[in-house]
Protein backbone atom coordinates (compact mmCIF):
# COMPACT_ATOMS: atom_id res chain seq x y z
CA UNK A 1 0.00 0.00 0.00
CA UNK A 2 2.70 2.38 1.10
CA UNK A 3 4.78 1.41 -1.88
CA UNK A 4 2.11 2.52 -4.24
CA UNK A 5 2.25 5.95 -2.64
CA UNK A 6 5.97 5.91 -2.99
CA UNK A 7 5.79 4.95 -6.62
CA UNK A 8 3.40 7.83 -7.17
CA UNK A 9 5.92 10.15 -5.55
CA UNK A 10 8.71 8.77 -7.66
CA UNK A 11 6.69 8.80 -10.85
CA UNK A 12 5.62 12.38 -10.43
CA UNK A 13 9.10 13.55 -9.66
CA UNK A 14 10.43 11.77 -12.70
CA UNK A 15 7.74 13.24 -14.87
CA UNK A 16 8.90 16.62 -13.60
CA UNK A 17 5.27 17.25 -13.03
CA UNK A 18 3.84 20.65 -12.31
CA UNK A 19 0.81 21.15 -10.20
CA UNK A 20 -0.59 18.60 -7.85
CA UNK A 21 -3.08 16.75 -9.94
CA UNK A 22 -3.50 13.21 -8.78
CA UNK A 23 -1.90 10.52 -10.81
CA UNK A 24 -2.43 6.85 -11.32
CA UNK A 25 -0.06 4.72 -9.30
CA UNK A 26 2.77 3.55 -11.44
CA UNK A 27 6.30 2.38 -11.14
CA UNK A 28 9.47 4.23 -11.89
CA UNK A 29 12.84 2.95 -10.81
CA UNK A 30 14.68 6.25 -10.46
CA UNK A 31 13.99 9.40 -8.59
CA UNK A 32 13.59 12.85 -10.09
CA UNK A 33 15.42 14.41 -7.22
CA UNK A 34 18.51 13.96 -9.36
CA UNK A 35 17.22 16.65 -11.71
CA UNK A 36 16.65 19.00 -8.79
CA UNK A 37 20.07 18.28 -7.35
CA UNK A 38 21.62 19.06 -10.71
CA UNK A 39 20.30 22.60 -10.66
CA UNK A 40 20.69 23.12 -6.90
CA UNK A 41 23.06 25.83 -5.69
CA UNK A 42 26.46 25.27 -4.12
CA UNK A 43 27.79 27.60 -1.43
CA UNK A 44 30.74 29.80 -2.29
CA UNK A 45 33.74 29.83 0.02
CA UNK A 46 33.15 28.40 3.44
CA UNK A 47 34.77 30.22 6.35
CA UNK A 48 37.79 28.27 7.62
CA UNK A 49 37.15 26.35 10.82
CA UNK A 50 33.37 26.54 10.47
CA UNK A 51 31.06 23.55 10.81
CA UNK A 52 30.35 23.70 7.08
CA UNK A 53 34.04 23.61 6.25
CA UNK A 54 34.49 20.57 8.48
CA UNK A 55 31.62 18.81 6.73
CA UNK A 56 33.10 19.60 3.33
CA UNK A 57 36.43 18.22 4.50
CA UNK A 58 34.73 15.03 5.66
CA UNK A 59 33.00 14.65 2.31
CA UNK A 60 29.53 13.74 3.53
CA UNK A 61 26.69 15.27 5.45
CA UNK A 62 25.50 13.28 8.46
CA UNK A 63 21.74 13.59 8.70
CA UNK A 64 19.64 12.40 11.62
CA UNK A 65 16.30 11.22 10.26
CA UNK A 66 13.81 8.44 9.69
CA UNK A 67 13.60 5.53 7.30
CA UNK A 68 9.89 4.98 7.71
CA UNK A 69 8.09 8.29 7.27
CA UNK A 70 6.05 8.20 4.06
CA UNK A 71 6.31 11.34 1.92
CA UNK A 72 8.96 12.74 4.24
CA UNK A 73 11.83 10.35 4.68
CA UNK A 74 11.24 6.78 3.67
CA UNK A 75 13.66 4.17 2.46
CA UNK A 76 12.71 1.79 -0.29
CA UNK A 77 14.05 -1.54 1.01
CA UNK A 78 14.41 -2.76 -2.55
CA UNK A 79 16.67 -0.02 -3.84
CA UNK A 80 17.90 1.50 -0.59
CA UNK A 81 16.91 4.93 -1.89
CA UNK A 82 15.59 7.47 0.51
CA UNK A 83 12.71 9.59 -0.74
CA UNK A 84 10.48 12.28 0.63
CA UNK A 85 10.48 15.94 1.51
CA UNK A 86 12.97 15.78 4.38
CA UNK A 87 15.21 13.33 2.54
CA UNK A 88 15.33 15.50 -0.59
CA UNK A 89 16.08 18.65 1.38
CA UNK A 90 18.95 16.75 3.02
CA UNK A 91 20.38 15.97 -0.41
CA UNK A 92 20.07 19.60 -1.50
CA UNK A 93 21.76 20.81 1.67
CA UNK A 94 24.57 18.31 1.10
CA UNK A 95 24.96 19.63 -2.45
CA UNK A 96 25.09 23.18 -1.07
CA UNK A 97 27.90 22.33 1.33
CA UNK A 98 29.81 19.62 -0.56
CA UNK A 99 28.98 20.24 -4.19
CA UNK A 100 27.47 16.76 -4.39
CA UNK A 101 24.42 15.22 -2.69
CA UNK A 102 26.35 12.93 -0.38
CA UNK A 103 24.40 12.31 2.77
CA UNK A 104 24.54 9.56 5.29
CA UNK A 105 21.41 8.93 7.27
CA UNK A 106 21.73 8.14 10.93
CA UNK A 107 18.45 6.84 12.22
CA UNK A 108 17.26 9.15 14.94
CA UNK A 109 14.31 8.87 17.26
CA UNK A 110 12.63 11.43 19.41
CA UNK A 111 14.67 10.18 22.37
CA UNK A 112 18.01 10.45 20.62
CA UNK A 113 17.80 13.60 18.50
CA UNK A 114 19.12 16.06 21.06
CA UNK A 115 22.03 13.89 22.23
CA UNK A 116 22.97 13.04 18.62
CA UNK A 117 23.28 16.74 17.84
CA UNK A 118 24.98 17.63 21.09
CA UNK A 119 27.69 14.99 20.79
CA UNK A 120 28.25 15.59 17.09
CA UNK A 121 27.08 12.20 15.79
CA UNK A 122 25.00 14.05 13.21
CA UNK A 123 25.41 17.47 11.61
CA UNK A 124 21.72 18.15 11.12
CA UNK A 125 18.41 16.58 12.07
CA UNK A 126 15.75 16.56 9.36
CA UNK A 127 12.90 14.65 10.90
CA UNK A 128 9.60 16.50 11.20
CA UNK A 129 11.29 18.19 14.12
CA UNK A 130 8.75 20.64 15.45
CA UNK A 131 10.31 23.83 16.73
CA UNK A 132 9.34 24.49 20.34
CA UNK A 133 10.83 26.91 22.90
CA UNK A 134 11.68 23.97 25.21
CA UNK A 135 13.62 22.17 22.52
CA UNK A 136 15.31 25.40 21.44
CA UNK A 137 17.06 25.40 24.83
CA UNK A 138 18.97 22.25 23.82
CA UNK A 139 19.33 22.54 20.06
CA UNK A 140 19.44 25.30 17.48
CA UNK A 141 16.74 25.35 14.83
CA UNK A 142 17.22 26.62 11.31
CA UNK A 143 13.97 27.33 9.53
CA UNK A 144 11.09 26.67 9.88
CA UNK A 145 11.34 24.93 6.53
CA UNK A 146 7.84 23.51 6.50
CA UNK A 147 4.62 24.19 8.31
CA UNK A 148 2.45 21.23 9.01
CA UNK A 149 -0.74 20.63 10.90
CA UNK A 150 -2.50 17.83 12.72
CA UNK A 151 -5.81 16.67 11.30
CA UNK A 152 -8.44 14.12 12.27
CA UNK A 153 -9.44 11.02 10.33
CA UNK A 154 -12.23 8.57 11.11
CA UNK A 155 -13.65 5.44 9.58
CA UNK A 156 -16.18 6.42 6.96
CA UNK A 157 -19.59 6.69 8.51
CA UNK A 158 -18.41 7.55 12.02
CA UNK A 159 -20.71 10.24 13.32
CA UNK A 160 -20.29 12.80 16.06
CA UNK A 161 -16.72 13.86 15.32
CA UNK A 162 -16.61 17.03 13.27
CA UNK A 163 -14.07 19.18 15.11
CA UNK A 164 -11.21 18.70 17.58
CA UNK A 165 -13.38 19.40 20.62
CA UNK A 166 -15.61 16.49 19.61
CA UNK A 167 -12.75 14.13 20.43
CA UNK A 168 -13.56 14.62 24.12
CA UNK A 169 -14.42 11.34 25.78
CA UNK A 170 -13.48 9.32 22.71
CA UNK A 171 -10.63 6.93 22.20
CA UNK A 172 -8.21 8.65 19.88
CA UNK A 173 -5.37 6.88 18.09
CA UNK A 174 -2.13 8.78 17.66
CA UNK A 175 1.38 7.94 16.57
CA UNK A 176 3.73 7.32 19.49
CA UNK A 177 6.26 10.13 19.84
CA UNK A 178 4.46 12.49 17.51
CA UNK A 179 3.14 16.00 18.14
CA UNK A 180 -0.36 14.54 17.75
CA UNK A 181 -0.42 13.45 21.38
CA UNK A 182 0.07 16.95 22.74
CA UNK A 183 -2.34 18.34 20.12
CA UNK A 184 -5.11 15.97 21.18
CA UNK A 185 -4.49 16.69 24.86
CA UNK A 186 -4.77 20.40 24.22
CA UNK A 187 -7.88 20.17 22.04
CA UNK A 188 -9.76 17.58 24.08
CA UNK A 189 -8.25 16.87 27.51
CA UNK A 190 -10.73 14.09 28.27
CA UNK A 191 -9.92 12.09 25.15
CA UNK A 192 -8.22 8.78 25.82
CA UNK A 193 -5.10 8.51 23.69
CA UNK A 194 -4.07 5.14 22.31
CA UNK A 195 -0.68 5.23 20.67
CA UNK A 196 1.08 2.96 18.22
CA UNK A 197 4.53 3.13 16.76
CA UNK A 198 3.87 3.63 13.08
CA UNK A 199 1.28 5.00 10.70
CA UNK A 200 0.28 1.58 9.30
CA UNK A 201 -0.21 0.29 12.85
CA UNK A 202 -2.38 3.27 13.70
CA UNK A 203 -4.48 2.69 10.59
CA UNK A 204 -4.90 -0.99 11.42
CA UNK A 205 -5.89 -0.09 14.95
CA UNK A 206 -8.47 2.41 13.65
CA UNK A 207 -9.88 -0.19 11.28
CA UNK A 208 -10.05 -2.73 14.10
CA UNK A 209 -11.97 -0.32 16.28
CA UNK A 210 -9.29 0.40 18.86
CA UNK A 211 -10.34 4.02 18.67
CA UNK A 212 -12.93 6.23 17.02
CA UNK A 213 -10.54 8.74 15.48
CA UNK A 214 -6.95 8.98 14.34
CA UNK A 215 -4.98 12.21 14.66
CA UNK A 216 -1.94 12.60 12.45
CA UNK A 217 -0.15 15.03 10.20
CA UNK A 218 -2.58 16.08 7.49
CA UNK A 219 -0.29 15.27 4.57
CA UNK A 220 0.12 11.73 5.84
CA UNK A 221 -3.60 11.32 6.36
CA UNK A 222 -4.30 12.51 2.84
CA UNK A 223 -1.84 9.93 1.55
CA UNK A 224 -3.54 7.27 3.66
CA UNK A 225 -6.99 8.25 2.51
CA UNK A 226 -5.87 8.04 -1.11
CA UNK A 227 -5.10 4.36 -0.47
CA UNK A 228 -7.93 3.47 1.83
CA UNK A 229 -11.42 4.48 0.75
CA UNK A 230 -12.74 3.68 4.20
CA UNK A 231 -10.72 6.48 5.75
CA UNK A 232 -12.30 9.91 5.94
CA UNK A 233 -10.67 13.18 6.90
CA UNK A 234 -12.67 15.46 9.13
CA UNK A 235 -12.25 19.21 8.87
CA UNK A 236 -9.04 21.13 8.41
CA UNK A 237 -5.76 20.88 10.33
CA UNK A 238 -6.20 22.26 13.83
CA UNK A 239 -2.57 22.89 14.77
CA UNK A 240 0.44 24.53 13.22
CA UNK A 241 3.65 22.59 13.57
CA UNK A 242 6.67 24.47 12.26
CA UNK A 243 9.34 21.95 11.32
CA UNK A 244 12.93 23.07 11.81
CA UNK A 245 16.33 21.69 10.89
CA UNK A 246 17.97 20.72 14.15
CA UNK A 247 21.56 21.88 14.61
CA UNK A 248 24.03 21.86 17.45
CA UNK A 249 23.02 24.31 20.14
CA UNK A 250 24.93 27.58 19.96
CA UNK A 251 26.35 27.09 16.47
CA UNK A 252 25.03 30.44 15.21
CA UNK A 253 27.32 30.52 12.19
CA UNK A 254 25.99 27.21 10.87
CA UNK A 255 22.41 28.21 11.67
CA UNK A 256 22.87 31.44 9.71
CA UNK A 257 24.34 29.43 6.86
CA UNK A 258 21.47 26.94 6.73
CA UNK A 259 18.92 29.74 6.97
CA UNK A 260 20.58 31.54 4.05
CA UNK A 261 20.38 28.32 2.04
CA UNK A 262 16.70 27.87 2.90
CA UNK A 263 15.93 31.43 1.80
CA UNK A 264 17.80 30.82 -1.42
CA UNK A 265 15.94 27.62 -2.35
CA UNK A 266 12.63 29.17 -1.36
CA UNK A 267 13.26 32.11 -3.65
CA UNK A 268 14.52 30.05 -6.57
CA UNK A 269 11.51 27.74 -6.50
CA UNK A 270 13.55 24.68 -5.61
CA UNK A 271 11.70 24.32 -2.32
CA UNK A 272 8.42 24.29 -4.22
CA UNK A 273 9.77 21.65 -6.63
CA UNK A 274 10.74 19.43 -3.72
CA UNK A 275 7.26 19.87 -2.27
CA UNK A 276 5.65 18.93 -5.58
CA UNK A 277 7.74 15.78 -5.77
CA UNK A 278 6.85 14.60 -2.28
CA UNK A 279 3.94 16.00 -0.30
CA UNK A 280 2.47 17.54 -3.45
CA UNK A 281 1.84 14.07 -4.85
CA UNK A 282 -1.00 13.57 -2.41
CA UNK A 283 -2.06 17.13 -1.53
CA UNK A 284 -3.95 18.77 -4.34
CA UNK A 285 -3.16 22.27 -5.51
CA UNK A 286 -0.11 24.48 -5.68
CA UNK A 287 2.69 24.40 -3.14
CA UNK A 288 1.90 26.46 -0.05
CA UNK A 289 3.86 29.62 0.63
CA UNK A 290 6.99 28.46 2.42
CA UNK A 291 7.19 29.56 6.05
CA UNK A 292 9.15 32.70 6.82
CA UNK A 293 12.59 31.81 8.18
CA UNK A 294 12.84 32.62 11.86
CA UNK A 295 9.07 33.01 12.25
CA UNK A 296 8.59 30.20 14.76
CA UNK A 297 9.18 30.80 18.44
CA UNK A 298 12.47 29.05 19.11
CA UNK A 299 13.87 29.32 15.59
Amino acid sequence: MRWTTLSVVVLLVVAGCSGGESSVPGTAPTSGIDALVAKAPVAADLPAGSTMARIRQRGELLVGGSLDAPLLSQQDPGTGRLTGFDADLGKLLAKYILGEPKTRLVTATSETREPLLANGTVDVVLQTYTITPQRAERVAFAGPYYSSGQAIAVRRGTGGIAKPADLAGHKVIAGANTPSIAAVKAAAPTAEIVEFGSDPECLTALRQGRGEAYVQDQALLIADAAQDKDLQLVGEPFTTDPYGIGLKHGDDQFKQFVNDWLREIQKSGLWQDVWRGSIGTVVAGDPPAPPVIGSAQGS
Partner: protein, 208 residues
Protein backbone atom coordinates in the same frame (compact mmCIF):
# COMPACT_ATOMS: atom_id res chain seq x y z
CA UNK B 1 8.48 18.44 37.11
CA UNK B 2 4.89 19.06 36.09
CA UNK B 3 5.20 15.70 34.36
CA UNK B 4 5.60 13.73 37.57
CA UNK B 5 1.96 12.53 37.59
CA UNK B 6 2.36 11.14 34.08
CA UNK B 7 5.50 9.27 35.08
CA UNK B 8 3.90 7.99 38.28
CA UNK B 9 0.94 6.74 36.24
CA UNK B 10 3.36 4.97 33.94
CA UNK B 11 5.17 3.43 36.90
CA UNK B 12 1.90 2.20 38.40
CA UNK B 13 0.88 0.69 35.06
CA UNK B 14 4.23 -1.11 34.92
CA UNK B 15 3.69 -2.36 38.48
CA UNK B 16 0.23 -3.67 37.56
CA UNK B 17 1.63 -5.32 34.43
CA UNK B 18 4.36 -7.01 36.45
CA UNK B 19 2.05 -8.21 39.23
CA UNK B 20 -0.70 -9.53 36.96
CA UNK B 21 1.61 -11.04 34.36
CA UNK B 22 3.76 -12.77 36.95
CA UNK B 23 0.71 -14.22 38.68
CA UNK B 24 -0.59 -15.44 35.34
CA UNK B 25 2.79 -16.79 34.28
CA UNK B 26 3.22 -18.63 37.58
CA UNK B 27 -0.21 -20.24 37.46
CA UNK B 28 0.18 -21.30 33.86
CA UNK B 29 3.79 -22.36 34.41
CA UNK B 30 2.65 -24.69 37.18
CA UNK B 31 0.18 -26.36 34.85
CA UNK B 32 2.77 -26.70 32.11
CA UNK B 33 5.40 -28.20 34.39
CA UNK B 34 2.94 -30.75 35.75
CA UNK B 35 2.24 -31.73 32.15
CA UNK B 36 5.94 -31.96 31.39
CA UNK B 37 6.89 -34.17 34.31
CA UNK B 38 3.66 -36.14 34.36
CA UNK B 39 3.42 -39.81 33.57
CA UNK B 40 1.34 -39.37 30.40
CA UNK B 41 3.34 -39.15 27.18
CA UNK B 42 0.73 -37.14 25.32
CA UNK B 43 0.58 -34.50 28.03
CA UNK B 44 4.38 -34.38 28.23
CA UNK B 45 4.43 -33.66 24.51
CA UNK B 46 1.87 -30.89 24.95
CA UNK B 47 3.95 -29.33 27.72
CA UNK B 48 7.14 -29.56 25.70
CA UNK B 49 5.37 -28.12 22.68
CA UNK B 50 4.16 -25.17 24.71
CA UNK B 51 7.58 -24.36 26.12
CA UNK B 52 9.30 -24.65 22.76
CA UNK B 53 6.69 -22.52 21.01
CA UNK B 54 6.83 -19.65 23.45
CA UNK B 55 10.55 -19.71 24.13
CA UNK B 56 11.53 -19.74 20.49
CA UNK B 57 9.46 -16.83 19.25
CA UNK B 58 10.27 -13.34 20.54
CA UNK B 59 7.85 -11.62 22.88
CA UNK B 60 7.57 -8.64 20.54
CA UNK B 61 6.30 -10.92 17.77
CA UNK B 62 3.70 -12.39 20.09
CA UNK B 63 2.58 -8.93 21.12
CA UNK B 64 2.15 -7.74 17.54
CA UNK B 65 0.35 -10.96 16.61
CA UNK B 66 -2.08 -10.70 19.49
CA UNK B 67 -2.67 -6.95 19.23
CA UNK B 68 -3.13 -6.76 15.46
CA UNK B 69 -3.79 -10.35 14.49
CA UNK B 70 -6.57 -11.41 16.82
CA UNK B 71 -8.96 -8.55 15.91
CA UNK B 72 -8.73 -9.79 12.31
CA UNK B 73 -10.47 -12.98 13.40
CA UNK B 74 -12.96 -11.08 15.49
CA UNK B 75 -11.33 -11.31 18.92
CA UNK B 76 -10.58 -7.94 20.47
CA UNK B 77 -9.42 -7.49 24.05
CA UNK B 78 -8.44 -4.16 25.60
CA UNK B 79 -4.76 -3.41 25.02
CA UNK B 80 -3.79 -3.74 28.67
CA UNK B 81 -5.48 -7.14 28.93
CA UNK B 82 -3.79 -8.25 25.73
CA UNK B 83 -0.39 -7.23 27.09
CA UNK B 84 -0.98 -9.09 30.38
CA UNK B 85 -2.17 -12.22 28.57
CA UNK B 86 0.74 -12.25 26.12
CA UNK B 87 3.42 -11.60 28.74
CA UNK B 88 1.86 -14.28 30.98
CA UNK B 89 1.79 -16.84 28.17
CA UNK B 90 5.36 -16.04 27.21
CA UNK B 91 6.88 -16.01 30.68
CA UNK B 92 4.95 -19.13 31.68
CA UNK B 93 7.30 -21.10 29.44
CA UNK B 94 10.28 -19.82 31.42
CA UNK B 95 8.53 -20.37 34.75
CA UNK B 96 7.76 -23.94 33.72
CA UNK B 97 11.40 -24.59 32.87
CA UNK B 98 12.59 -23.10 36.16
CA UNK B 99 10.12 -25.25 38.07
CA UNK B 100 11.14 -28.33 36.12
CA UNK B 101 14.79 -27.74 36.92
CA UNK B 102 13.79 -27.50 40.60
CA UNK B 103 11.90 -30.77 40.40
CA UNK B 104 14.88 -32.39 38.70
CA UNK B 105 17.12 -31.50 41.62
CA UNK B 106 15.12 -33.89 43.76
CA UNK B 107 16.75 -37.28 43.32
CA UNK B 108 14.66 -39.60 41.23
CA UNK B 109 14.98 -42.30 43.88
CA UNK B 110 12.91 -40.24 46.27
CA UNK B 111 10.01 -40.16 43.86
CA UNK B 112 10.33 -43.86 43.20
CA UNK B 113 10.46 -44.57 46.92
CA UNK B 114 7.33 -42.50 47.50
CA UNK B 115 5.48 -44.34 44.75
CA UNK B 116 6.72 -47.66 46.16
CA UNK B 117 5.24 -46.68 49.52
CA UNK B 118 1.89 -46.30 47.79
CA UNK B 119 1.69 -42.53 47.34
CA UNK B 120 -0.09 -41.37 44.20
CA UNK B 121 1.61 -39.11 41.61
CA UNK B 122 -0.13 -36.10 43.17
CA UNK B 123 0.79 -37.08 46.69
CA UNK B 124 4.37 -37.69 45.70
CA UNK B 125 4.56 -34.21 44.25
CA UNK B 126 2.86 -32.56 47.19
CA UNK B 127 4.63 -34.26 50.08
CA UNK B 128 8.01 -35.19 48.72
CA UNK B 129 9.04 -33.29 45.61
CA UNK B 130 7.50 -29.83 45.89
CA UNK B 131 8.72 -28.95 49.41
CA UNK B 132 12.30 -29.65 48.38
CA UNK B 133 12.02 -28.17 44.92
CA UNK B 134 10.31 -24.97 46.12
CA UNK B 135 13.27 -23.47 47.90
CA UNK B 136 15.56 -24.28 45.00
CA UNK B 137 13.42 -22.48 42.45
CA UNK B 138 12.92 -19.26 44.37
CA UNK B 139 16.00 -17.56 42.97
CA UNK B 140 15.44 -18.68 39.37
CA UNK B 141 11.85 -17.50 39.66
CA UNK B 142 13.08 -14.19 41.03
CA UNK B 143 15.28 -13.83 37.98
CA UNK B 144 12.34 -14.58 35.73
CA UNK B 145 10.36 -11.96 37.61
CA UNK B 146 13.09 -9.41 36.94
CA UNK B 147 13.27 -10.39 33.28
CA UNK B 148 9.51 -10.09 33.09
CA UNK B 149 9.70 -6.61 34.59
CA UNK B 150 12.13 -5.54 31.88
CA UNK B 151 9.97 -7.20 29.22
CA UNK B 152 6.91 -5.19 30.23
CA UNK B 153 8.53 -2.22 28.49
CA UNK B 154 7.60 -3.96 25.22
CA UNK B 155 3.96 -3.37 26.09
CA UNK B 156 4.58 0.21 24.94
CA UNK B 157 4.46 -1.22 21.42
CA UNK B 158 0.99 -2.54 22.14
CA UNK B 159 -0.19 0.94 23.02
CA UNK B 160 -0.03 0.46 26.79
CA UNK B 161 1.30 3.62 28.42
CA UNK B 162 3.60 2.08 30.96
CA UNK B 163 6.82 3.55 32.32
CA UNK B 164 8.81 3.53 29.09
CA UNK B 165 5.96 4.93 27.01
CA UNK B 166 5.27 7.69 29.51
CA UNK B 167 8.97 8.56 29.65
CA UNK B 168 8.84 8.83 25.87
CA UNK B 169 5.84 11.12 26.04
CA UNK B 170 7.44 13.40 28.59
CA UNK B 171 10.65 13.53 26.59
CA UNK B 172 8.72 14.57 23.52
CA UNK B 173 7.75 17.75 25.30
CA UNK B 174 10.84 18.37 27.42
CA UNK B 175 13.57 17.18 25.06
CA UNK B 176 15.64 16.00 28.02
CA UNK B 177 16.17 12.34 27.15
CA UNK B 178 19.11 11.63 29.43
CA UNK B 179 17.62 12.65 32.81
CA UNK B 180 14.19 11.27 31.88
CA UNK B 181 15.44 7.86 30.83
CA UNK B 182 17.96 7.67 33.67
CA UNK B 183 14.97 8.28 35.95
CA UNK B 184 12.93 5.59 34.22
CA UNK B 185 15.92 3.25 34.40
CA UNK B 186 16.22 3.84 38.14
CA UNK B 187 12.55 2.97 38.56
CA UNK B 188 13.13 -0.34 36.77
CA UNK B 189 16.24 -0.95 38.89
CA UNK B 190 14.19 -0.26 42.00
CA UNK B 191 11.56 -2.77 40.92
CA UNK B 192 14.22 -5.35 40.10
CA UNK B 193 15.88 -4.82 43.48
CA UNK B 194 12.50 -5.22 45.17
CA UNK B 195 11.85 -8.51 43.40
CA UNK B 196 15.38 -9.72 44.19
CA UNK B 197 14.93 -8.82 47.86
CA UNK B 198 11.59 -10.56 47.98
CA UNK B 199 13.10 -13.69 46.46
CA UNK B 200 15.89 -13.67 49.04
CA UNK B 201 13.39 -13.30 51.86
CA UNK B 202 11.24 -16.11 50.52
CA UNK B 203 14.22 -18.37 50.11
CA UNK B 204 15.26 -17.92 53.73
CA UNK B 205 11.70 -18.59 54.85
CA UNK B 206 11.48 -21.80 52.86
CA UNK B 207 14.88 -22.96 54.09
CA UNK B 208 13.77 -23.24 57.70
Amino acid sequence: MSHLPALVDGFLTTLALVALSFTGAFALGLVVVVLRIGPLGVLRAVGTGYVETFQNIPLLVWLVLFVFGLPEVGVRFPLFTTAVVVISLYEAAYVAEALRSGVNTVAQGQGEAARALGLTFGQTLRHVVVPQAARRVVQPLGNIGIALTMNTSLAAVAGVVELTASANRVNLVEALPIPIFVGAGLCYALLAAGIGGLAGLLERRLAT
